[in-house]
């Protein structure tokens, strides 16, 4: 409870600061737009990268989205955080580009649209995953692999929700899918990414493999 209250007042403070900054930018002090985007640049890029999987495309789409947000700043309502707004623009731009690539993505064919039961790997102990044993670089690579291994529809929901920290409603708006669909996909995505990470890190360090059901 306490935490929720703290978080809410912190949120209000951020929104207030953003509103002032945006008003200044709109009044012609354009250079201050850097301040608005600097704290989220990395998330913008990473969102694009997670969807597009190539550095060059991700950078281009990030630039386009940041420009688009600048041009449309007047239409930003300020009810949500600027970061949520910008991240959903990036998500949309990235997905549009992906469609334009006209990739008949194998991943899409593979992604089961029966979003029913998913049985995760069983572990005796979380401690069995030797996170501490992994060097930071290796850990990052392992996480990236795990993300990349997810079918598109699960990867994008996971990125927006768990890396970009959009809430469920914002994720639903960004992906243009219903709230229940976000929740269903999120559950599957989280279990899958966990499994992938667990089985790779684990198998490598202990020689164990996923148990057959």
């Amino acid at each position: 409870m306490q935490n929720t209250l703290v978080r809410e007042s912190e949120n209000d403070r951020i929104l207030e600061g953003e509103r002032e900054l945006i008003a200044e930018i709109l009044a012609g002090n354009h250079e201050r737009y850097y301040e608005l985007i600097a704290p989220i640049e990395r998330r913008v890029y990473y969102t694009a990268y997670a969807i597009l999987r190539t550095e060059a495309d991700a950078e281009e789409v990030s630039q386009e989205a940041i420009l688009k947000a600048f041009r449309g700043l007047r239409t930003f309502r300020g009810e949500a955080k600027f970061s949520s707004w910008l991240l959903s623009i990036v998500g949309n731009e990235a997905r549009m580009r992906l469609r334009r690539r006209r990739e008949v993505s194998l991943e899409l064919l593979k992604s089961p649209d029966n979003e029913g039961e998913y049985t995760p790997i069983e572990l005796a102990e979380w401690r069995e995953i030797p996170v501490e044993a992994l060097a930071q670089k290796e850990l990052a690579a392992r996480l990236e692999e795990a993300l990349a291994a997810l079918p598109e529809i699960y990867r994008e929901v996971l990125i927006l929700r768990d890396i970009d920290e959009l809430n469920i409603a914002e994720t639903s708006a960004a992906l243009e899918i219903t709230v229940p669909a976000v929740k269903t996909r999120l559950l599957r995505a989280r279990l899958m990414v966990r499994d992938y990470f667990v089985s790779r890190s684990w198998a490598r360090h202990t020689g164990l493999r996923k148990a057959q059901p």
Partner: protein
């Protein structure tokens, strides 16, 4: 499966099965459930090591994933971004 179906002092308690817990794990992590459901789930988690480990490990992987600083940006990204924006600002002024 089903370790959590327990009976206490002759009263059958309504508890969740492992499958039901699994379906709710994501909502639990998001704190997106009724207090009643949360209680039921926590009762199960206290009793069932398998589900508790599943919850912990999922949570931990998400925490690792959320640390975006792990992922590298292309060198010069910010510089190029500022360059593009500077051009845009000039256009907006004229």
């Amino acid at each position: 499966m089903g370790q959590a179906h327990w009976i206490k002092k002759g009263t059958a308690m309504i508890t969740l099965s492992c499958e039901e817990v699994r379906r709710e794990i994501s909502n639990y992590l998001d704190d997106d459930m009724s207090p009643r459901m949360r209680r039921l789930l926590e009762v199960h988690l206290e009793q069932c090591r398998k589900c508790a480990v599943l919850l912990d490990s999922t949570h931990n992987v998400l925490v690792l994933l959320a640390d975006e600083h792990r992922f590298e940006m292309p060198a010069g990204f910010s510089f190029r971004m500022r360059h593009v924006l500077a051009k845009e600002f000039e256009k907006a002024k004229s």
